[in-house]
Amino acid sequence: MKRLFIMMIVLLAFSYSCVKDGGESGVATGGDQAGQGGSMAKFSISNNHLFVINESSLKTYDISNPAQPQKMNDLSVDFGIETVFTMGDHLFIGSINGLYIYDIADPINMKFLSYYQHITSCDPVVANDSLAFVTLNSSASCWWQGGANRLDVLDIKNKIDPELISSLNMISPKGLGIKGHYVFVCNGDNGLNVYDYTNPQNLVRVAGITGIQSYDVIIRNELLFVIGKDGFFQYDISDIQNISLISNILFQ
């Protein structure tokens, strides 16, 4: 009984630590590496800059001192912008109406490069140097019902004039990630599909994960992290033909 009581005190001490404003730590700590988000993110970090989207604008913060972000600029983009993704000197914004590409080599003078318009849908985006992958989803949770359910592949070698290469109809595409010549696409209640995009005009489904609901993914080396309403799942993807579950944390 006494032991239980002590345990409860320890638990209480452990379990509650709050902070209101006015914390003035700001101590420079080591390791300035950024983490990695999924394709549904509304934040993106590139070097010393934090890009933040709200419903209609893109705000840039200088985070050379990570603890003290300083606002640099505020750019009006479009109504209904949803996701932001950076790669090298380029920033991609997925809106309900299309894909915007900006040059962020000089973030204080970022340049609008192009806008690729598509059917009104939800649309996370990932890209490599030459291709962008955009999923369109028309589910009710995306507000705008109607629209399409598909995966679009765009040629973005010329960032000023992206061109649609191919479209693949899906049931309920959501977040996505790329690794090598594979694109991993969450397909809602229908699990996750893996496509080989060696020929971007004709994506070939080479593998898949079934039996889970999937919303978004992060790929790090040989690990695939999947989040869905049932839980968090980790897979070994070193052999694409034999994707194996490493562990999971179920939410219920």
Partner: protein, 165 residues
């Protein structure tokens, strides 16, 4: 979608939605607590050996993934009104209702808010219940009661607000 006010003479009860408020003070307080169950799964973020899983409007679950075969829930970072995070070094950025905050997580059990940028975001779903058909009744939001955390179905007496185009 916006909402309109209307007035009717007689007493009527309608099924609709009522806002659940939290005080402005609590809304902007960041806490670390023991692991808890997921309410509404949000987004995912990874940093070093840690995995962060969003719980929409409530905060982020923190998982130690040092050994991917045995990921371990280590706690919950309570950030009300939160949908998204990003991390650089030991600083976690998050939306906290309409604010953007920077939180020092070098000691994850004792988070410190190092910066708060006010009114970066427009509050979504704050003035009316989200995703309901047009013509749905709801209790008008009283901003003096704090922030709207969620909406619950309720019987409303003489509701003065309903959703419209």
């Amino acid at each position: 979608m916006v909402f309109l006010l209307f007035f009717s003479g007689s007493n009527t009860t309608k099924t609709g939605y009522r806002p659940i408020y939290i005080s402005s003070d609590i809304a902007k307080t960041i806490c670390f607590s023991a692991p808890q169950a997921m309410e509404k799964q949000g987004k995912i973020y990874i940093k070093d050996q840690y995995v962060f899983i969003g719980d929409i409007n409530l905060g982020v679950h923190i998982i130690d993934n040092t050994n991917p075969e045995y990921p371990e829930k280590i706690g919950f970072l309570k950030i009300y009104g939160n949908h998204d995070i990003a991390i650089k070094g030991n600083t976690l950025y998050a939306d906290n209702f309409d604010d953007l905050i920077a939180v020092d997580i070098s000691d994850i059990e004792h988070p410190v808010v190092t910066k708060r940028e006010k009114a970066v975001y427009t509050l979504m779903n704050h003035d009316f219940p989200p995703g309901v058909p047009y013509g749905t009744y709801f209790e008008c939001v009283d901003d003096s009661k704090g922030y709207v955390l969620s909406w619950v179905e309720a019987e409303l007496e003489n509701p003065k607000c309903y959703t419209t185009y």
